[in-house]
Symmetry: C2
Subunit: 346 residues, 2 copies
């Protein structure tokens, strides 16, 4: 059985294809009676215009591409996958669909071509990247091709172009973390950095340093290390660092994010260190599971829903040629006190 097209509808309703199109698109210059007659036939035959035909005459796809980069360890993390829902929800509220694409490695030639193709073949009105490092030639290329690109945790100073939209973590949550621990009396603070190819990890690192210097706290190599952004990496880093300085332990650890903090928990458990009695731990993100772990995690929490909604809304505003769309937005963290930090009396 052949699909019914606007021609068939026109014949059945005794009008021209032009009129069918006018009715379908709700144009005003159609008398009520004609509209009803045509609508009746349309409903009866469940006619829906083919998108490909409409696209060819200039209609937009009302679709956002979502490029999820770095599956390994990131995308399969439960927090990360909940991001996805926020994006789809935010898009739906603006009547946009989301075309999803998970890429393990965005530097691979095959994947680069794949992304390019999706942008160029007219499937999407714009694309959002999540999980890239802060330098990505492909992103620059697409921006250069006037494609609208939305970026999560990706920002370059002085590269303001209207078709590059980003949402980012604030630049000073590290400093806030140090301030907080300092306020509790901590002076011997260890830092487990994240993956320094990511903007947020760079900012957090820098602002940890700023905080330490501000309070004239000792920066000791043995208390500084890298832990990536997932639990396993955090565990390995903490285990190694702590094992190497059992004779002079820090009183607190700043973990680049909650995932890393959970790894610190595991390392402490194995080394017989109690949290917070022997050592305090602070995370960043506000992961839900931080509230179920024991002791509950003190962390600097970000409103991811707000972050993704802001990004999606501004990307769509750009697609729809709204004026003065803010190009980059930085979101502030909020301290959530759990049971993982103790006050030190000095």
């Amino acid at each position: 059985m052949k699909r019914i097209n606007s021609n068939d509808i026109a014949k059945l309703a005794g009008v021209s294809r032009s009129t069918v199109s006018r009715v379908v698109n709700g144009y005003p210059n159609v008398p009520e009676e004609t509209r009803k007659k045509v609508m009746k036939v349309i409903k009866e035959h469940r006619y829906y215009p083919l998108l490909s035909g409409q696209l060819l005459t200039g209609k937009s796809t009302k679709t956002l591409g979502l490029f999820w980069v770095g599956t390994a360890g990131i995308a399969h993390d439960s927090l990360t996958s909940s991001y996805f829902m926020h994006i789809v929800d935010a898009a739906a509220r603006r009547d946009y669909l989301v075309l999803a694409c998970v890429l393990d490695n965005i530097s691979e030639k095959h994947n680069i071509n794949y992304v390019r193709k999706i942008f160029m073949e007219g499937r999407i009105d714009a694309g959002i990247f999540v999980g890239t490092s802060n330098t990505e030639p492909l992103v620059d290329e697409l921006v250069g091709f006037d494609k609208i690109v939305g970026l999560f945790d990706y920002y370059h100073e002085n590269e303001d172009v209207p078709n590059r939209i980003s949402v980012n973590f604030d630049r000073h949550s590290g400093e806030k973390t140090i301030d907080y621990l300092y306020g509790l009396g901590h002076r011997k603070i260890a830092i487990i950095d994240g993956d320094l190819s990511r903007l947020s990890c760079i900012h957090r690192h820098e602002s940890y340093m700023r905080g330490m210097i501000k309070h004239s706290l000792p920066l000791q190599n043995k208390w500084l290390t890298y832990g990536g952004i997932v639990k396993q990496r955090g565990y390995e880093a903490a285990k190694k660092m702590l094992s190497a300085c059992m004779d002079d332990l820090p009183t607190a650890i700043c973990a680049n994010n909650d995932g890393v903090a959970f790894g610190v928990y595991q390392a402490c458990a194995e080394l017989g260190l109690r949290i917070p009695e022997d050592i305090s731990v602070v995370g960043a993100d506000g992961h839900e599971s931080g509230r179920h772990i024991s002791p509950t995690l003190t962390t600097f929490s970000f409103d991811f829903k707000e972050m993704f909604t802001s990004l999606v809304d501004r990307v769509i505003d750009t697609i729809e040629h709204k004026e003065n769309v803010p190009q980059s937005v930085f979101i502030e963290s909020q301290l959530v006190e759990g049971g993982s930090c103790r006050r030190i009396d000095s």
Copy 2:
């Protein structure tokens, strides 16, 4: 700057549009020299054929619709959102993209029309539904319209049509749960059922009953209740049930799934009941967080990755007119023993 089309490429390369098309689609009847000449121009100008043009001549979209039903409490659950990754991964392995759509309520007229439209306007080759109840007029309608529909946890006996593909939980995991507890010496077993509009919950309920009867165990109203499929519902159900029978507690609780089991943990904690000393708990799903909670959860685990991969592969096989595609598949659960059950000496 106007987009470059096949006509422009043809002129630049000194050939016809037909030849450009032949090169783009990799047809064999083009001499190597011509191919090279054309490809050079294509690369230089980063020409990609517009999908909408190709679609009009019969090409398929290579896109799967994903309809995520019942956001509230389901889609924002972290386990559930990881399902999404499995679907996108499985589709990508077959070179398909996924168009995602989250719907809070699939009975609402507006949403029904939205889904219909996506199917009818030629955006997707097939659609997958996750989270529906086991009776959904819209699904039947789409199947009736010869649309290819993939279904998770949705199956009707004797309704075999080649364009309705499903993957389901086995029909007897409830019985296996009872067998397991019986084997540990439990005789007083409580059951917290799920949402009985869902196929898996019905099957689990039935097979709990089967197991209880097989072992001649007492079916007591006070030990039977409904808990939905998320933690909060499980908590409420367990709290109410246990509070009402503190004078005659069951020795074990079968929770419809892991989410409900976590709710049981919370209820037990509040009532001062220790797991497994005072009461044993068994879940179903194999949720990762069951391994992080204390005590670790004994559960009947399903391989969700396998489930979704099977579903996606068979849906795509159907799109591509493969022969003898199995229409419905039931996946077996696997016992994962944690620390939430104890042996009862009798």
